[in-house]
């Protein structure tokens, strides 16, 4: 199994979710994160003092898939999350050693 982990722009979340559901994926886990990269933050000003907001809000989507599905998942995410402008984000894929569904005790491929 693989864990596909994508950092995307927050407003793309719904589209990416739809794309994954379209592949038959049934679950995913989402985290609010802050990203630092080529896309630059902005400056806020309050009473004459400046605040550099260097980290930008991003969303991390993690989805565990069977190994053979990983490529398709990466592709689907990349397609749905793409705007073409800086800051679109990254997709990383990791190996999963073991998986377990807590409710049923099913393991590995059956668990996801």
């Amino acid at each position: 199994m693989k864990l596909v982990s994508a950092i995307i722009k927050p407003f793309k979340l719904d589209e990416v979710r739809e794309a994954l559901l379209g592949l038959g994926v049934t679950g995913m886990t989402v985290t609010e994160v802050k990203g630092f990269g080529r896309q630059k933050g902005h400056t806020e000003i309050y009473r004459g003092a400046e605040y550099a907001i260097s980290f930008l809000p991003k969303i991390k989507i993690e989805v565990a898939v069977k190994s053979e599905m990983a490529d398709r998942a990466v592709e689907a995410i990349a397609k749905a999350a793409k705007t073409g402008s800086i800051g679109d984000g990254k997709v990383f894929v990791f190996d999963i050693d073991q998986a377990l569904r807590i409710r049923t005790g099913e393991t590995n491929d059956d668990a996801i």
Binding site: H42, Y51, F55, P57
Partner: protein, 412 residues
Amino acid sequence: MDALKTSTDVFFLLMGAVMVTAMHAGFAFLEVGTVRRKNQVNALIKIFTDFCISTVAYFFIGYTIAYGIDFFGPAPVISGAAEKAPEAFGKNGYTLMKFFFLLTFAAAVPAIISGGIAERAKFWTQALASAAIVAVLYPLFEAATWGERWGVQKWFEGTFGAKFTDFAGSIVVHCVGGWMALAAVLLLGARRGRYRKDGTVVGIPPSNIPFLALGSWALSVGWFGFNVMSAQKVSDITGLVAVNSLMAMAGGLLAATIVGKKDPGFVHNGPLAGLVAICAGSAVMHPIGALATGAVAGGLFVVAFNLCQNRLRIDDVLGVWPLHGLCGLWGGIAAGIFGAVALGGMGGVSFWAQLVGSLIGAGYAFIAGGLVYLILKVTLGIRLTDEEEHVGADIAIHKIGAYPEDDLVRPR
């Protein structure tokens, strides 16, 4: 004795002015709670700035149009302190005090509009519109009704047997504000992403119900100054106005709670709907009539808001047209119904005078408001750019969000 009377009058109006000023904080928080987090700062600044712009506009121009008197003479004269100060200024600065009291009404019109055009209007053009409305357009209607200028009220009396009655402004303030807002909202267009291509509405969630509730409370409490002090002299005070306001508020809340299924947005607008509707007739109805007037308004608000949002696809953010425009209209008419002696009222009102006067108010406001916003639209532009709307009015206009510490630590 007369001295005590006058000074008590000034004291009386002062408390009214203070309470209605506090209502403006209510307008601000009602809007803060309803808009998204990224537009909260702008909501706050817009309401306070427009109040101050209205002050200047009404002092230099508006009040003079409405009541034919100006304040350019020296302080001892305009405050009535000088021996030979003209009577029109009253003693103890009575007329100045009255100016302040009535300003707080005038400034309510931009505050009402503000709630409709929230989350996408430009800052300075809105300020300009406020100035134009409070300096000229609102005072014109005020002059004709409360100012009894130009024989309009005489015409009502001659035609219908009674003047057009609008004790505390269901029409003059609320209906006018609401219909001007409708024009502005239509000219501005819906917020980005508010309607899908197929026309169905996309819910844009409010940010903060407690702030919204705080606004509703500030408005409801201050409203007793709005209505009771509209007597303008303490000798004309009556507990009837106070209790009618109370009953209409209760009726409005209870109806909105039931029809609106305990939805906090409806519940907290319910008392406002009732209070908008009772302004006109609060001195002529029986408390049970007031309860009914308020209840109808509360229900009307819920139904009209849904219609407006889902069917008519008018993106009136706070629902100010249903609230002030329609409930105000209903209030103007209701004074002609429940004010009748037959229904336990004080009498002296004509249903037809009320109907005609109310409709004129709505029509005038829609046209006048439409003109102002149309001119501004084609000249300076009234709407933020898409990019500005997307990042939010706070960052776009004020360079800072509502929770800067939070934003630094966890930008959203």
